[in-house]
Symmetry: C2
Subunit: 222 residues, 2 copies
DNA sequence: CCGGCCGGTAACTAAACGGTTACTTGATGA
DNA sequence: TCATCAAGTAACCGTTTAGTTACCGGCCGG
């Protein structure tokens, strides 16, 4: 064996940058960086190298903590859902009058979407792939039932006191609120371009916020 | 030069498959294949080889007719917009009563979205990239004004005859209709997964169609 | 006080990618 | 009838990509 029992040797220099040696922090940094990268470029456009660089680490760690690109993406998606559903729980929409409760949920949803456009991007990417990864998730089966249960109670109370129509349906109400927020924010770039009006302008955002509450309530009021 | 003036030579065999030699047809086939590929995989996920194969041709023709991947994508996007706006023009929503006109526009938009999910996908991809390519389009500046003009007239008539509220705004009305259709269809996969209900089921689709008309009209009725 | 383990780095690889080159074939009009 | 050119094919190329391997070093339990 031509004079060498050694395997290929790679030259090493001592690490110059400060070593972190903090697994929790590294993991969190990767997750945050991945959220941004996947939200900006989608599953197909996201680059593993870019995630590692954004997180201030390297690919080896990413594969160490999350397995591969697809599992990392699923983690990001799950974390995003946990984020909104957790914040939603703290609303307690049943504490006020039914009408105020619905208005509160609409305002919360709109403002959350506005503050977390990366969540909307991730939903868009996941739907492009027909929920291929979300359907594999085991963490998310029980997460969303709380919202529907609480919304059902609010609508029941509203119907009983005669302020809401009989046909008011919890899923329909939530989908209405989410539709009006999601479309406006996620499609703002093409809409602003084709209609020649900047939808991200503060005055327009405020007007749409009021519009969402108005549309939602007027569709269920007796 | 070691015994050869020739450049690298490639072996050729006679073409076995039927030659089309039909530029129009080839161009159209590439455009259709590209629409599917971009809609299914987004800009980042779409593969040039896959488009060529789907079109029954090869990459050389694709680059010959469309320049590069980005220009092909822009052509696909422009064609998609031309498609919906052209169909929309033939509605003539001003021909009936204002209320029927709005209902007609809502029904048309919903059914068009339902029939052309690839259009919704393309919008999603384009917005992910903040309308990067659409903003470069020179064909699409005048395309959308007709819709707003006709909608303005219908709302004016409705206001004048007292059936619509004074604050009814044409862009808001269109965005409401589009929101409710877009979100339901484009996000059907994640929504069906998390809420455990198949939104693509015919009964649910019919119910949502009625819901869109109801929500749109109830939000502007006097 | 030291050996192994875990957190960490960077160079490497095979495959896939967008885009190009070299060449062939059929139609057409001078 | 043949020169010319557009239509078409497939091999090729340089780069990028997801994923791996080889190696380093601080720290903690025995």
């Amino acid at each position: 064996m031509d004079g060498s029992g050694e395997k290929k040797t790679i030259k090493r220099r001592p690490a110059e940058r400060v070593l972190q040696r903090d697994p929790e922090r590294t993991r969190a940094a990767i997750l945050e960086a991945a959220t941004k990268e996947f939200a900006e470029n989608g599953m197909g456009g996201a680059r593993v190298d870019a995630i590692a660089e954004r997180a201030g680490t390297n690919k080896r760690m990413l594969y160490h903590y999350f397995g591969d690109k697809e599992q990392l993406y699923l983690h990001v998606l799950e974390e995003a859902y946990v984020g909104i559903r957790t914040a939603e729980r703290e609303l307690h929409i049943g504490d006020r009058s039914p009408e105020e409760g619905i208005a509160e949920l609409a305002l919360f949803t709109w403002r959350y979407f506005l503050k977390h456009p990366e969540f909307l991007s991730l939903l868009g990417t996941e739907n492009l792939h027909r929920a291929r990864w979300l359907r594999q998730s085991v963490r998310l089966k029980e997460l969303h039932s709380h919202l529907i249960i609480e919304l059902t109670q609010v609508l029941d109370r509203g119907r009983a006191s005669g302020v809401f129509i009989e046909t008011a349906d919890p899923l329909n109400v939530y989908l209405t609120i989410a539709s009006l927020g999601y479309f406006y924010i996620s499609n703002q770039y093409t809409l602003s371009t084709i209609f020649g009006r900047d939808l991200a302008d503060t005055a327009n955002l405020d007007a749409w916020e009021r519009h969402i509450v108005h549309v939602t309530l007027s569709s269920i009021k007796a």
